[in-house]
């Protein structure tokens, strides 16, 4: 399964990459790739994580896991890191595009590196959301849908924030997970100008954005641990 997902990731993002550098006067940048990757990760994160905890419940192996001398948070962190490592490998594979850029062009290394850092942080957040969704029941589909739901919600939150002004708008804006989907409206292959991913694509590493992604990861991991621990209170 892992090989299939990795192959699909490289294929889909490859498409975006090629499309973005095939225009006349195209930039030697990975912006196209990043847009594709951010988009694809919203589908992939639930797919990678949906069974992590749901299957343990379904198979009954959670019973053995939780009656062993392991703490719930160890279980959650372990699964989270495994998923993150998987994505890390996929990102490594996609480095092939960067190599191509260097061979045929003269790209700026800065935005490339910050782009990948952003992707890793973005992956961390999306995977932790997916893991949380997986813990909610023994049904993988529930994990998939809830995970995808939360991720999509956080990605289109700018549609909502546009309706408001003032403080509410600012708060909602700042929850924006990654590229806004409105980017596809305008027909250009760029990463959205709003949202926490935008700066990474531009080559800016902002502490603020890093903090956002890490916070989201931590919040959802904690929630997952709480879900597992809730068994002890029922």
């Amino acid at each position: 399964m892992a090989y299939v997902v990795a192959a699909a990731f490289v294929a889909v993002t490859g498409f975006f990459f090629v499309a973005s550098v095939s225009n006349a006067f195209a930039e030697a940048s990975i912006r196209g790739f990043l847009a594709g990757a951010v988009f694809f990760l919203i589908l992939m994160a639930p797919a990678l994580t949906m069974r992590l905890l749901a299957e343990e419940q379904k198979l009954g192996t959670l019973e053995l896991l939780l009656t062993s001398p392991v703490k719930e948070f160890e279980v959650v962190i372990g699964k989270y890191l495994a998923a993150l490592f998987m994505v890390f490998i996929m990102l490594l594979l996609s480095f092939y595009f960067v190599l191509l850029l260097f061979i045929y062009g003269d790209p700026d290394i800065g935005p490339v590196l910050s782009g990948y850092l952003g992707l890793l942080l973005y992956a961390s957040a999306t995977l932790s959301i997916g893991l949380f969704a997986s813990s909610l029941s023994g049904n993988q589909i529930v994990g998939l849908i809830v995970g995808a739901g939360i991720l999509t919600g956080l990605s289109v939150i700018d549609f909502v924030s546009n309706r408001f002004t003032g403080n509410i708008a600012t708060i909602l804006d700042n929850l924006q997970l990654g590229a806004s989907f409105s980017v596809f409206d305008s027909g250009s292959f760029g990463v959205a100008e709003s949202g926490h991913f935008a700066d990474f694509a531009r080559g800016i590493i902002s502490v603020y954005d890093i903090f956002y992604y890490i916070s989201i990861s931590i919040i959802f991991l904690i929630l997952t641990v709480l879900i597992l621990e809730s068994r002890r209170w029922r």
């Binding site: 198979l59 009954g60 019973e63 053995l64 009656t67 062993s68 001398p69």
Partner: protein, 325 residues
């Protein structure tokens, strides 16, 4: 090693386990019997720390399973009813992983792995995917993971359910062997198996413990009598029966109508009877003496306990708690 005091577990408004108290001492093998839904699995899940009790105190190896759960779990090997396994791992990988989450270091795992695989006789299958194993072998893999870390206490929920007859015999022998070195709490509703393996039996019904004793004493208490089977040759039935009835301590005599006994008796040319007597009066010797004095052939004189099935049925279908206590 296991101590349960006034433990109750409610699932919402539904009381699954009600005020259960018992102790399992080191080295004991206890059979936990009960109809479906009686509360066996729930009790086991409380002991292993998977489900918290609603009230009461449960300790394993001295550690409270609610407050010192991690310590308690280190001393437990658990085989849940569903024998959950990761189907896409090989037997060896699965057992290695289970060893790791039990906190075993590499050397210890490498030492125990071949021993355990040997004990459960999975040697030929160590590199087979668990998903490809038959039920019997999966069960053995489950038993293997439970004993891998050499725990003080083994808790097994229906360990032989669904295995074919040949493997059942082997598994039972395995369990008996294990019982020599570990404290065990086994649940089952295969009664002959429990009588074969467990010197002590706990019967639970509708969430309450209704009996806690060894099968022979339970049988006596329930029968309120000692029961003896006897086979006689060359006697006239009525003469024999009235002779016996006149003896001290005899409650009743009747012909033995059990099919198997009748078949064998016909082959041997004897007549089988069942005698109910007051317990502990040594009636057997007296019966034997009288039979011989009369010149009749005494072919068989054996105490007959209630089978565990009869005990179980009586305990779970009547309100006989008063009778036990």
């Amino acid at each position: 090693m296991i101590s349960i005091e006034h433990m109750s577990k409610n699932f919402g408004p539904y009381p699954a386990v009600i005020d259960v108290t018992f102790e399992v001492l080191k080295g004991e093998i206890v059979g936990f019997l009960g109809p479906n839904g009686a509360g066996k699995t729930t009790t086991m899940r409380v002991v292993t720390g998977y489900t918290p009790p609603t009230s009461g105190k449960v300790t394993v190896g001295g550690y409270d399973v609610t407050t010192k759960s991690l310590d308690a779990r280190k001393h437990i090997g658990y085989l849940p009813e569903s024998v959950p396994l990761y189907l896409d791992m090989t037997v060896k990988d699965y057992l290695t992983y289970m060893g790791q989450i039990r906190g075993m270091n590499k050397e210890w795992i490498n030492k125990r792995l071949p021993e355990v695989i040997d004990v459960v006789k999975l040697g030929d299958y160590r590199n087979t995917l668990v998903g490809r194993l038959s039920k019997g072998y999966r069960q053995r893999t489950g038993i293997a993971q439970a004993i891998l870390h050499d725990p003080d206490v083994l808790i097994m929920d229906e360990p032989t359910i669904g295995i074919d007859p040949i493997q059942v015999v082997e598994t039972r022998e395995l369990i008996s062997e294990l019982g020599k070195e570990h404290t065990m709490l086994l649940s089952s509703h295969i009664l002959p198996e429990v009588s074969a393996i467990c010197p002590r039996v706990l019967v639970i019904n509708d969430g309450r413990i209704v009996a806690d004793d060894n099968p022979e004493r339970l049988s006596e208490k329930l029968q309120h009598a000692e029961r003896i089977e006897i086979s006689i040759r060359n006697a006239e039935n009525n003469e024999f029966m009235s002779l016996i009835r006149d003896l001290d301590g005899i409650i009743d005599v009747r012909t033995d109508q059990r099919a198997q006994t009748l078949q064998r008796a016909e082959r041997e040319g004897v007549v089988p009877f069942i005698i109910d007597a007051k317990p502990n009066m040594g009636v057997s010797e007296n019966i034997a003496k009288n039979v011989i004095d009369k010149g009749w052939g005494l072919s068989n004189l054996t105490p007959l306990a209630m089978t565990l099935e009869e005990i179980f049925l009586q305990l779970t279908t009547e309100e006989s708690e008063n009778n036990i206590n």
